[in-house]
């Protein structure tokens, strides 16, 4: 059963078709990977889904409701959260407040302050950052700032989480920890749609992979199919 569905999703920047007539589908409970060379339109597609941009033309439906044209905060409150490729935390606010914002404003139902604080504390515990809850987010390492971002997103109680290059810029140990975190997020019943360049991660974690190139969807399939696909290899390595 699809939780997220896109039909003919298109977005031009001037004369450049950043995303062009892309159809996609993410089923409930899946982990879907989105890969493609730099400039393929992956982040633009995420921006279209999360409401930062509006598709022209095309429709995106989330839980059978049309979401294109809605403001980002509305989409977030419907249960669709995201993280950013370049970390976007609230640098001068304590880590705990970063996460608290998510539970206070992003959850589908309005929570009392006490409930929101409990939810934030629980989420911090889940990503393993309880010890640094009081430090300003800017003082953390990149890996931990990315965790803060994930925690803020999780605190909004999403059903679908978009992860934009969670593992970029991390060392091998941190990548392994991130993969484990994605697995645990999935175990909570959250559907994951992730952009990733770290092939080891994407091949191990994902149920299904979608490949974008020059704004168009060129392939889709299981990790084995994608790894064996001739078109994908051509796009990545050249002919």
């Amino acid at each position: 059963m699809p939780i997220l569905e896109g039909k003919g999703v298109t977005r031009h920047f001037g004369g450049l078709a950043a995303v062009s007539r892309v159809d996609f589908q993410v089923d409930q409970g899946e982990i879907v990977g989105l890969i493609g060379p730099n400039g393929a339109g992956k982040t633009t597609l995420f921006n279209l889904i999360s409401g930062a941009l509006v598709p022209k033309p095309g429709t995106i439906t989330f839980k059978d409701k049309k979401i294109n044209g809605l403001k980002p905060h509305r989409i977030c409150r419907m249960g669709l959260a995201r993280t950013f490729q370049a970390v976007k935390v609230f640098p001068n606010m304590p880590v705990f407040e970063n996460v608290l914002l998510g539970s206070l404003f992003g959850s589908p139902t309005r929570m009392s302050s006490a409930d929101a604080a409990a939810q934030a504390a629980e989420t911090l515990e889940f990503v393993g950052l309880s010890a640094v809850g009081a430090s300003p987010a800017k003082d953390l390492t990149l890996a931990n700032q990315k965790r803060v971002e994930v925690a803020s997103a999780l605190a909004t109680k999403p059903q679908l989480l978009l992860l934009d290059e969670l593992m970029a810029g991390l060392n091998a140990t941190e990548v392994a920890e991130s993969m484990e975190l994605v697995g645990r997020i999935h175990d909570r019943g959250i559907t994951v749609f992730m952009i990733e360049h770290v092939m080891k991660a994407i091949m191990n974690v994902c149920d299904r992979i979608m490949v974008l190139h020059h704004g168009e969807r060129i392939a889709e399939g299981t990790p084995q199919e994608i790894a064996a696909s001739k078109t994908v290899i051509e796009v990545y390595l050249g002919e």
Binding site: R82, K88, L101, G106
Partner: protein, 317 residues
Amino acid sequence: MKTARVGLRKWWVPGLLLLILVLLAGLPRFASLYNIVLVSSILMYIILTQSWVLFSGPTGYISLAPAAFFGVGIYTAALLGLKLPLPVFVVAGGLASFCVALVVGALTLRLRGIYFAIFTFGLVQLIKNLLVWYEFSLTGTRGRFVVLVANNTIYYAMLAVLVLLLITTYLIRRSRYGLALQSIGENEEAAAHTGVNVTMVKVLTFAISASFMGAAGAIMATRWTYVDPYMAFNPLRSFMPVLMAIFGGMGQFYGPVLGATVFAYLEETLLTKFPYHYMLLVGTILVITIVYLPGGLVGLLQKGRRAISRRGQNANT
């Protein structure tokens, strides 16, 4: 020992505030007329500065519109003052500014940085020139008379508006709404994606802050008895709140209040004592503040407190 100190800390802030309030409330009983007028205008500057900081402090949107909202308040008083009692036209002045700010905010708060600052400043000029055109060509006058109100009444009205503003600021700061405001200043895009309705929070806060400026304008108009658009929309009143906030330091709750008080008092004294060199002196003080006190007066106080406590520790060891 330690618990006693914590207990003391908990009580001395509200205690001090209450003491100041009582002193201010009793001021007209023993102060001269000159001092009452002086303190009234200091209170006005505190209102302008504190309400400016209410919006621009956490969000980082530098608004140069205070003069516009202040002027809207003045003209509300000029229009309604002859028929209605003071509390009514002060509230009306606040409401009028609130509405103007809602419209302007909805239109312009998508602009960021310098563009927003320039636009808000343009707003002051726009309203002023519209009014000049209206008065000249349609009513055939240049200025208007405003109802005369006793100096003590002006003083108490200012004080009431200020107390209301401080309570509002305090409540916003400690609520979830304050957290949302801060998150917008830190990273607006991330705030929107974490579920904060950024447009609503920005526009509403902009309007709340404007309503206090409007109320202050409506009160101040009664002191001038005659107003014209050039007086009412004096651009200096857009810059003063910014300067006073920087002078006081925006890091702390009391920074803008302190900055406005000292600066306004300084300005008045310099203006009366050194009328010819006044601007030169004000400029020098500002330059010194910005170069040597990036944290404003509050930063200086904190530095001093730290130095004292360090000396205390050294003496103990």
